[in-house]
Symmetry: C2
Subunit: 642 residues, 2 copies
């Protein structure tokens, strides 16, 4: 049990109205925002603190001292625009927006909850001007705003904040080049140069070289400052303001984790033996308390020495992390182990990463086979085409990234590789609706559709750890074609049991629970759990629902399919994906080919709208995809003829 606390808005007002000078005020406000962001992330259960803390002073300076938003409001055409390009620092932005009254205080503590604040920036939240979470888009978006301002005769500047790891994305350089050519001089880029990306230093992942020289070579005015010194931030932005004939970049040198000693780079990196622990995820209770106390005690002494009456912090709630009711199985871990095994037997296997080695569980491979591991940074297009070159040279590349980034961002590169008829394995991590906390930039619910029209591409999702190994082994050792494997990143909500005699074979799945009224096909642990739950609930109402695990998402053995469907009058598909372009479309097509639709109904279930942000069960329920909703939907449909 820990206490979640908040510094209320009136305390910010009190600081603002105090006798302190601007820098002193901003220093207090920034730490007060750090305190609120820390508490919000702890309650949310996840979020990015390291980068929220490094960017906080810049944000506080912009919102409290620099931009005209407080004066003009959020709708005025002449308002300054702030664009969060890196996006995962949004807890900082929320804390600032809440301190300013743009976000109501109760909302701050609904971070990553349904109907609360999205895990990554979304325009439906007051004060957020663009959606982000996928890196590299901010400067391009800024160009649109800047064009609208300059050509539409509107006032205000366009501020866009990027990370430094983010500068590995090629889109950044497209945008720099075009912004200069198009003379969008009202753009002010600020780089939160905290030197650490996901969990390693930028110069260990992909070094940026002489950053200032590089950015200047694109024609920008480039300045630099200490990103934690308000006087220097102010002066640097004023130097930028004085330049009117080109767009501007300010490199703000910051410290990742700034404000909590044990989260600060480089100390934190040293303590983590080279990896930075505080990039993502909520801190454990002990660290949370330590961090809270550190900020609070610094605030108290600053208040005291400024001769302000003591800071009043309010209790939000006594917080006990609920047992999540999930298993300890993580399919992605099984994948990591299977990959290691595959690496041992196949010397031609090369693993490629796009700065998500830890999340994708391929760090073990990196440590074991450093000479067959390629860290390519946040550059998905490049990593995919590089894999193409490796495959043409006789290697077997296994490319890893999150589903949304890999399937969508590098889609044309994947196509180009596929037309070369080499074999490449693409692993789309963080696939599906859950976890729903990070929000729609991270929920991979279109990846099947993005791979489906490649004729020589097999698409899979395993339901448990054993099947993860079977799928990977099949892809490595048996498949002739390229493969896409989608993997859930969260712990499995239940262990999906496969019978001991289950053999992974072409186009076939496995019956998990028998039934005779209807049959539901799904895949992966998340939706199979819901399907099984639905089946269990329906059993109590005398409806017998067969549940089938179908790890093959675009190949099927029609005889097996026909046999499995058997006497069931209704066939359901349940996609952990948009209902369009997923397994459902493929099975409907297969049922049509197998002549099953003459006397059986086929109903596709899956996401009908963009995935919501929130806790797993509330989000599943919102989309009507939790076991109970599925059960009632199926019960309603069953009597019907189609």
């Amino acid at each position: 049990m820990v206490k979640i606390r908040a510094i209320p808005r009136r305390e910010f007002d009190r600081v603002e109205k105090s006798h302190l000078n601007e820098s002193q005020k901003l220093r207090l406000i920034a730490d007060m925002c750090r305190y609120n962001a820390l508490n919000a992330v702890k309650k949310a259960g996840s979020g990015h603190l390291g980068t929220s803390f490094s960017v906080m002073d810049i944000l506080v300076y912009l919102y409290f001292s620099k931009m005209n938003i407080r004066r003009l409001g959020l709708e005025h055409p002449d308002r300054d625009i702030y664009l969060p390009s890196k996006g995962h620092d949004v807890p900082a932005q929320y804390a600032v927006l809440s301190a300013l009254g743009f976000i109501p205080p109760e909302k701050l503590f609904k971070l990553r909850k349904l109907g609360g604040l999205d895990g990554h920036p979304d325009v439906r939240v007051q004060g957020i001007e663009m959606n982000s979470g996928s890196l590299g888009m901010g400067v391009s978006k800024a160009k649109g705003f800047a064009w609208a301002k300059s050509r539409g005769g509107r006032g205000g500047r366009v501020y866009v904040l990027t990370g430094d790891g983010e500068l590995q994305e090629g889109q950044i350089y497209e945008a720099l080049q075009t912004a200069v050519h198009q003379r969008l001089n009202n753009i002010q880029v600020i780089i939160d140069h905290n030197m650490v990306q996901s969990d390693k230093p930028v110069d260990k992942i992909i070094d940026l070289g002489d950053l200032k020289k590089k950015l200047e070579s694109f024609g920008f005015y480039v300045d630099e400052c200490d990103g934690h010194d308000f006087v220097k931030i102010k002066a640097a932005l004023e130097r930028c303001d004085a330049v009117s004939d080109k767009p501007k970049i300010l490199i703000a040198n910051t410290v990742k984790g700034k404000g909590v000693s044990f989260m600060e780079h480089p100390q934190a990196l040293k303590e983590g033996c080279g990896t930075y622990r505080w990039h993502a995820g909520a801190p454990d209770d002990e660290s949370f308390v330590k961090a809270s106390e550190e900020i609070q005690s610094r605030l108290n002494s600053m208040f005291a020495s400024a001769k302000l009456s003591p800071l009043r912090i309010e209790l939000v709630e006594d917080f006990l992390k609920k047992p999540s009711g999930v298993t300890s199985e993580r399919i992605v871990e099984a994948y990591g182990k299977a990959l290691l095994d595959a690496g041992k037997r196949r010397k031609d296997l090369v693993v490629l990463d796009a700065d998500l080695a830890c999340d994708c569980q391929i760090r073990q491979f990196e440590l074991e086979f450093p000479d067959r591991f390629i860290e390519n940074g946040i550059a998905e297009q490049d990593v995919v085409s590089m894999a193409g070159g490796l495959a043409l040279s006789g290697f077997l590349p296994v490319v890893n990234s999150f589903s949304t980034f890999l399937a969508a961002r590098a889609n044309e590169q994947i196509y180009a590789n596929a037309t070369e008829k080499t074999k490449i394995i693409y692993v789309c991590h963080l696939a599906g609706l859950i976890p729903a906390g990070p929000g729609r930039s991270h929920q991979g619910v279109r990846d099947i559709s993005l791979f489906q029209a490649l004729p020589n591409m097999l698409i899979f999702e395993p339901c448990n750890s054993a099947e993860a190994k079977m799928v990977l082994d099949y892809c490595v050792d048996v498949a002739q074609e390229s493969c896409m494997i989608r993997l859930v990143i969260s712990p499995s909500p239940r262990l999906i049991e496969l019978s001991s005699d289950y053999v992974f074979s072409f186009g076939r799945g496995a019956v998990l629970r028998d039934g005779r009224d209807a049959v539901i096909f799904s895949y992966g642990p998340v939706m199979l759990h819901e399907a099984l739950t639905a089946s269990e609930l329906l059993e109590k109402e005398d409806v017998s629902l067969k549940v089938v695990n179908m790890p093959w998402l675009n190949r099927i053995d029609l005889d097996w399919f026909t046999g499995v469907v058997d006497v069931c009058s209704h066939i359901f598909s349940l996609d952990n994906h948009m209902v369009s372009g997923g397994l459902g479309d493929f099975l409907l097509d297969s049922a049509n080919k197998a002549g099953l639709l003459r006397d059986k109904c086929f109903v596709k279930l899956g996401l009908e709208d963009y995935p919501e942000c929130g806790m797993p069960q509330e989000v599943l329920r919102h989309h009507g995809l939790d076991g109970a909703s599925l059960a009632s939907k199926i019960k309603e449909i069953l009597p019907s003829k189609c």
Copy 2:
């Protein structure tokens, strides 16, 4: 009638064995290759001469003097690798590979024909090491080859040739950054710096600034030379060879169209009033003869002054461009006009281009509304995100590029925009199988699948000029959601006639030809023509096939659908797209929802494999999608029950 001629391989041998010095030999060989490339492109009916000519001297130097391929052959692991990143200069590469005997002489004149040489590089052609045609991937691919060489202990260098306009693609900068970090020092990039992209100078589209400084800032060794002077090319590459601690770039300053006076930049640009005419497409007969004669006469005098016996050129064939049997209707022209009209009535409409203004027929808009036209160069990710910023600022952006580049390359950016719930119109040009000459990098046959899982996206393809206007007007004035319009770029194979009372309305199409045995749904002029042809052929065999134009590719009025299907026992869908993820999947789903599959058969027709390169009819036939193949397929299926 013109004569297609070729310089046979023995003439190249004769030059090579002559007493001339290296430069003199290469100069002759390069012009001989230019001659062959010109003739091959003329016979093909399309191809990129300007860039083939600018790059020719570099290619000849690499293949004849520099690389070890002739010695080691095309399979040797230690061979030098040549990667054609820009790709559309492949007629030059084919001419050189043919001069060296790697490509048989008869194949050179099957350029862009079925079973011949692909319109853009494809690894199934001897001597081609990577597929390209979509820009910006070459350096990344080179990284894969270079890694395989350096880590696999293989010899040889990796040469990759890029354009200069191509340096607007962000993937290039991803690759430069990672190549340096990964110490892939065996990469030698050569930039064919001919200063002109599609049809305008690079510095008018998106200026590259101080290119050398920019590239150096990424950590490469950068050198520069005259790309038409063999002595200088040689010396520059030797300077690069001497650098072993970083990868290398050679900026080769070249002249677009080099070797044919009236095609040479800058003269050609001046004659074209600012646009360059010789980028793509075969020259007309008169220009072809003039160009041939110019090269031939220069060769003759060089042979004479070198005291070589006269050059023997062989006749390949008397060539008369066959009337293509197509109409003069170009739907894309109608789109261009409709866009201009829309621009007149909607002051918030902004048109964005990615260096294809001429092909996309939006130049007229540019001339009329220069202040609402944004030229963004070859930077698809950036242009899409910029459109996102414009939409968030209250403008209505219309983004234009070729289907493959826009739908695939910028897919994640499109998703991010779509989640913001603004309205943007994406126009995917050069959609579908035809023209098949450019090859699979340019055939947009996955775009529907790439847009389909976006819930707030309407997808259309119009069948004729009138409908093109209706679709655009609907998107501009009526639609609440974002829209994707796919457009055929070629002249329509027949005029698709819509009745005078046709009203474009939500989810409805139009019956083009009545029938009672079966009904086929298709869209766009290419496949509707084939469907109509099939219907006409079947009529002779007493099979009555109804043909329906369905411009709505992901929305349908189920009542209308049911009514149109009527008594037909069989429903066919015909996609100008991969059979997976196109209209067929959507209609099958709709038929299922409408309960039509209880007593009707549904058969999806479309591309089952990657699109072939060649002439329209041979390619349609190859895929079984020409009218005759369709008719016999349908006739075969019809008696069956399903």
